[in-house]
Amino acid sequence: MRYWIAGCLAVLAAFGQPAGSAMAQSSTLDTVKARGQLQCGVNTGLAGFSAPDDAGQWKGLDVDMCRAVAAAIFKDVSKIKYVPLTAKERFTALQSGEIDMLARNTTWTMSRDTGAGLSFAGINYFDGQGFMVKKALDVVSAKELSGASICVQTGTTTELNLADYFRTNKIEYDPVVFEKLPEVLAAYNAGRCDAFTTDVSQLYSIRLTLGNAAEHIVLPEIISKEPLGPAVRQGDAQWANIVRWSLNAMINAEELGVTQANVDQLKESKNPEVRRLLGFEGEFGKSIGLDLDWSYQIIKLVGNYGESFDRNVGAGSPLGIARGQNALWRDGGLQYAPPIR
């Protein structure tokens, strides 16, 4: 009987305070610092954005986003635990606290920003959805795809865009929906589908892995806006600021001509914007709970946005994607970061 009562009391104690317990968490920054490691959700394998290289090191544009945040907090880009996630798992992983931030070519949409408990911290790649087909089909435009079978991965915004586009253009098609990318590609390769649709950046990345890249072409139509960016849990403004301004610092660094190579020389710079960026004027680091040299560390350890782009997806990479919309605003692109001042 005594044990029984003790058991009851234990249950009472455990559930005496329903709700609220999730709210009483300490700030994400404190949690990350205490853990000594940033847990960053990335793609399970998308060349150029996040994929392990021959040596098992994660590389890519999204991976650089994780590294920038780790550099700002720890001054060390090795203190990251990469958590590879499928399209379907990613938001639950972030909501439940399994990861601190999500950098997994994720489209910023209103429903995700407002209804899924997420906050987007910026746009690190302006993308759009497109189609890839086999050259042998002699298709030059997506409008010719009437009656075609189209392979698509679930858990993404692509299914809806696809339906919208074909509904608008009054074209019929057959969707074939898979959960994971390898099955989508296997089905496309086996001839189950005429076309494969996803974000154009992914199409270029995947075309490289298909063996004979020259046999496949990416059609010119871009059927949607896909602003890809890092996301954090809603409700921790300081943490959102850290991620947002890590990205902004990289873009501002490119605009100001600060690179990984010259950042040390520029310590002597007289340019006030550069001095503010590198933390010699103002106390911008403190306002987000970090040291004053937070952005210096990002540029020193990761590089500016342009360097990251070239190295991972741009001219200096096998993907060779042109800057296009991702060029700086003054070069005719869309990348524009609010100033640090």
Partner: protein, 400 residues
């Protein structure tokens, strides 16, 4: 010392608290009530906590989303569906697709399982060995791998739509599926349907008549041929009388795929084949155990009565074996239904793919969507169990 005299009768109605504590019945009731209350409160605490946390994190909740426009397309649908319809409709499409593959899968797996199970007991060494190899191979491979092997194996083997394999009756087979002409019924169809019904009624009458004669005289007439002639003949006369109200919509070559006609998707074929072959291996073992549970004397007694081998199996062994077979068979039916959720891996639009996949992703309402999906599988499984228990009670040995 003199004990105080007992109080008179009304004590029954005014028992003190200690009386209740020492009454085992009252004590048990009280404890059960407390446990029940704790359980209710426990469930309530979890639900309440979840709702509050969802609100605090800014995650939408509630079931209102079912009325919103779905916006996406589904490759196979048994009911009318367009992307302008609601999420609720998409749910039904996924549910019916799951039911389709589960029901056909259960029927096929039972047939294949019975055949293989009996084959494993065959006196023919080759047949028994082949059945053993089938069972030991297939039931030891994870079902997901089976599905991948069947699906991609099938796709690799099939020709592209431009080089479709031509089959009889204007049917075509290619990587996009099996295409065949769709029947289009015209005016006067009712006459044909009526003819079929009359034919079937006649066949049933013949059967009842023959059975009565068998019971009375012990003479078994062969009525299969007259039945066939009756059904086909009456139906054919009715069809001609109605002015042949049937035409066909033939599949035609389009730029990418064949158009028109009816299509069976390769995903459906692969899923059905994978689930059937896998589950049949288990059913075969259950059938074998059931048959072996029937005492050898039953075979011998039946043989002594002059029954041939098919009759021994059908009339003596199987009815007794069913009592052993049915309870574990129910488990296999449940497994097949639940394994059908692997469909998402090979692109078949079942409930998990459509609802717990696309709808969940578009609405971000994981808790509600998963709750509904789990409830569906629970209800399906319970219904299967209820039906199989009823069937089991019917074939159970009636003891007097």
């Amino acid at each position: 010392m003199k004990r105080p005299s007992k109080p008179p009768a009304p004590a029954r109605f005014s028992r003190s608290l200690t009386d209740y504590i020492y009454d085992p019945k009252a004590r048990a009731l009280a404890l059960q009530a407390i446990v029940a209350l704790l359980l209710v409160w426990f469930v309530w605490a979890i639900v309440d906590n979840t709702i509050r946390n969802l609100e605090a994190q800014g995650i939408a909740s509630g079931f209102g989303f079912l009325d919103n426009t779905a916006g996406f397309d589904i490759s196979q649908s048994l009911i009318a569906y367009a992307n302008t319809m609601s999420y609720g409709r998409a749910f039904l499409v996924g549910l019916f697709n799951t039911l389709l593959v589960a029901v056909i899968g259960v029927v096929l797996a039972t047939i294949v399982g019975f055949v293989i199970g009996i084959a494993r007991l065959s006196g023919n060494w080759l047949i028994a060995a082949l059945a053993s190899v089938y069972i030991e191979t297939l039931r030891n491979i994870p079902p997901l791998l089976m599905l991948f092997a069947v699906y991609f194996g099938v796709l690799k083997a099939l020709p592209s739509p431009r080089n479709s394999l031509e089959l009889p009756f204007s049917s075509y087979l290619n990587t996009r599926g099996l295409y065949f002409p769709a029947p289009v019924w015209g005016e006067g169809t009712w006459l044909f349907v009526a003819g079929v019904l009359v034919g079937v009624a006649g066949a049933v009458f013949l059967y009842l008549n023959a059975r009565r004669k068998f019971i009375l005289t012990g003479k078994a007439d062969s009525i299969a041929l007259p039945q066939l002639i009756l059904v086909v003949g009456v139906a054919a006369i009715a069809f001609l009388a109605a002015g042949s109200p049937l035409s066909f919509d033939y599949p035609q070559a389009g730029r990418f795929n064949l158009k028109g006609g009816m299509t069976i998707l390769p995903e459906f074929i692969a899923l059905l084949a994978g689930l059937t072959l896998y589950t049949a291996a288990f059913i075969a073992e259950i059938v074998r155990s059931g048959i072996l549970s029937v005492a050898k004397g039953q075979h011998e007694a039946a043989a002594a009565l002059g029954l041939h081998r098919g009759q021994i199996m059908r009339l003596v062994v199987i009815p007794q074996a069913l009592r052993v077979i049915i309870p574990p068979l129910t488990n296999q039916y449940l497994n097949l239904t639940k394994n059908s959720s692997l469909a998402v891996a090979i692109g078949y639009p079942d409930l998990v793919s459509v609802f717990a996949g696309t709808v969940l992703n578009q609405t971000n309402q994981a808790v509600e969507v998963i709750l509904i999906t789990m409830s569906v599988y629970l209800v399906l499984s319970l219904l299967t169990s209820v039906f199989m228990n009823w069937f089991n009670a019917r074939v159970a040995l009636v003891e007097r």
